[in-house]
Subunit: 419 residues, 2 copies
């Protein structure tokens, strides 16, 4: 198994369990990096220090023993994202495994803010991983499309936000989710009833000062923003979905997401026991890097900072060759002598996400790192992998009919909820 | 017609139109009286100065000419609450009359926060007046029960708030609303869809600083409170009720309410044009005084401060005789000499609300004011009037079936929306 050092800097380990730190996190004043749902940036353009983040947020490192336990319980190899530390942190994921081992079930909750028509590869990461979890554990899944959030943050019209939500749903469905175990909803179409009741219950427990601490809101922010955190919180509670979980109010929830979403669920976990609910568990990923390198930002306004699922093979070839930041040396002589710097090399990082074959990846790591393989060769392999992946996605998306979207989004019981 | 001086102190008139003042109101710093949806109090326990309030809020005085115009247009005598200045202020009520005169229609919106099982007489005032408006103008009516608000402010459970909303709906229905023209809804059962979309549209336009200025929220308040104003705002917009008003997005809304609710609609009127909607019009009442006098407060924790619709005739007799603050003099001799002080006399004030016969009221005003009539006689007449009114309400409420409540609250088209 390729170790997590492939993606993550080696670490002096984090402080153990973080459950007790949920209250403290927002009071820290370290401003060397900012990670919240709307901003991910490190001081002086440096890289995100994930160890500090784990410490600050008070979550837990996902260690190799836990990965092996997942493999044993699901009787299948762990997903590459798990083997390689893409999903690197968690909150009480071990408790989810404990109950699964006892023969109990849980449900999955993930989501997306539908701010753009076309998804890029980074957007696919949580959905690819969630599909793996659904297949491996055979559990129901709810997917929230926060069209209300994007309407408020991006100043999109209600209609445009709803349209984007539906377009994004097609890309999500194309990831292969089981229609008999998956409920996709947009906030504009689903908020109400028990879901709204839970929003009110959560909102009652969180002061303005608290959301300022957690999310960095200011008094100049509009109250739509201040009202939003409960909307993202309540899918963590099964009673928000009476058509799915009536009488299963104690069902645990596992949330796969990128670690920038942690503040929402730190708040949720803080509130849950006060309103008689179980805390959701989390399994959290690092950020998918921009083509220009980990210190760059994938930006919707710069289409060359990311590979989109709508890119042609020619686009992909052009973007990788032209923009993918290389850790190779400036001359072939130096490269042969010093090897590539894999810590910063984007083609290799992308392969670590998407090249499933551990042996081949390890081979590239050794040969490229030792300078025996050149950047051009690695880029060529990456272009093959991404073109194939994007082409597969395009075909799958084209096969998603309006009827399928309607069914995934219908408020209905799930015929094969478990097993 | 008995003049409004019966209820309101004579005034040096208020500054004319207030429409332009909506923006300024919350920036004033006069702290001699506090009037907002959760607090009504004057400095040093004095009486509310309604002239100052009209000036501060920037609404308009409802003058006798406007009352006469209502009578002419509706071809019936104005309600006592209108003749006597109980409803004493407005915002653009004249525009509602303009369009009605042109043969156009509008709709009515009022509401109640269901915080207690039994309503008192003050609670009935807006509903009695709204029924008159519905009958006189033959227009549809939506009634909002803010069970979410009470759940958050009074710390009631969701279930208890919903139960109180339904109990209160029975009292409201007992006021005689036309089932073919009235939609009653509770927020917990109705928030969602187009209503929620409008909540988001409003919330986007209002900053935290703004709600601090309007409602006096603090950073220690929970975000449920901060999220609530849009919930009370959006019934002002017909598109929040697609089952009633599809294709009637330009329908004007008239809101009868006590003036403490003005801050919600000042905010609503400020936002409306920015999201492409019409501003709601308002017609606003003074506060119904406590038995102990206008400087006292009706308090749910002191059942002797108010007459409840559940009080027996014996209760009413006892409360009026024992607690109703008298403006009569301390001895019969002095009373005969100086007469009663009608400015502070609660039996007379209550009669001004509920004794419909103008001639009899005028007679009492003269005789009691001149000392020829004693407090005991006035109280006796009030006890008769209130006992009859409460008995009538009790019978009407007993006749309200669960099926009727279900129908009033059903999301349905209104069969006789207009005319």
């Amino acid at each position: 198994m390729a170790g997590e050092e492939l993606l993550l800097p080696t670490t002096t380990n984090s402080k153990g369990r973080g459950a007790d730190k949920e209250e403290e996190a927002e009071e820290e004043e370290e401003e060397d990096q900012v990670v919240n749902p709307w901003e991910v940036s490190a001081k002086d353009g440096g890289r995100i220090d994930y160890d500090k983040l784990v410490d600050k947020f008070g979550c837990q490192r996902l260690d190799p023993a836990l990965v092996r336990r997942v493999e044993r319980l699901t009787n299948r190899p762990a997903h590459a994202f798990l083997r390689r530390g893409v999903f690197f942190a968690h909150r009480d994921f071990n408790e989810i495994l404990d109950l699964y081992e006892r023969g109990e079930k849980f449900y999955l909750y993930t989501g997306r803010g539908p701010s753009s028509e076309a998804l890029h590869l980074g957007h696919l990461v949580p959905f690819m991983f969630t599909k793996y979890l659904q297949d491996a554990f055979k559990v129901p899944l709810v997917i929230q499309l926060t069209d209300d959030e994007k309407c408020m943050w991006k100043n999109l019209s209600v209609e445009e936000s709803k349209r984007l939500a539906r377009e994004n749903a097609k890309d999500i469905i194309a990831c292969g989710f089981d229609i008999t175990r998956t409920f996709i909803f947009s906030d504009f179409s689903y908020v109400g009833g028990a879901f709204y009741e839970n929003m009110v219950k959560v909102a009652k427990c969180v002061t303005f000062n608290k959301v300022v601490g957690i999310f960095g809101f200011t008094p100049e922010d509009h109250i739509g923003k201040i009202s939003f955190p409960p909307v993202q919180a309540v899918p963590s509670f099964p009673s928000s979905f009476p058509h799915l979980f009536t009488g299963k109010d104690n069902l645990r929830c596992l949330i796969p997401c990128a670690i920038d979403q942690d503040p929402y669920f730190r708040m949720t976990r803080d509130v849950a026991p006060r309103i008689g609910y179980q805390k959701p568990s989390l399994i959290e990923s690092i950020f998918f890097p921009a083509l220009q390198g980990e210190t760059g930002k994938m930006s919707a306004s710069d289409p060359n900072s990311a590979i989109y699922v709508t890119d042609s093979s020619k686009d992909i070839k052009n973007k990788v060759n032209k923009y993918a930041f290389s850790g190779g040396q400036d001359s072939i002589e130096n490269h042969r002598k010093y090897g590539a710097n894999l810590e910063v090399d984007i083609p290799f990082k992308y392969l670590s996400f998407f090249l499933d074959d551990d042996d081949e990846l390890e081979h590239i790591r050794k040969e490229y790192g030792a300078g025996r393989m050149l950047t051009g060769e690695v880029k060529k392999r990456l272009i093959e992998i991404l073109s194939e992946m994007v082409e597969r996605h395009r075909k799958a998306r084209a096969a998603v009919t309006d009827e399928m979207v309607d069914t995934f989004m219908a408020v209905r019981p799930l015929p094969r909820m478990f097993g």
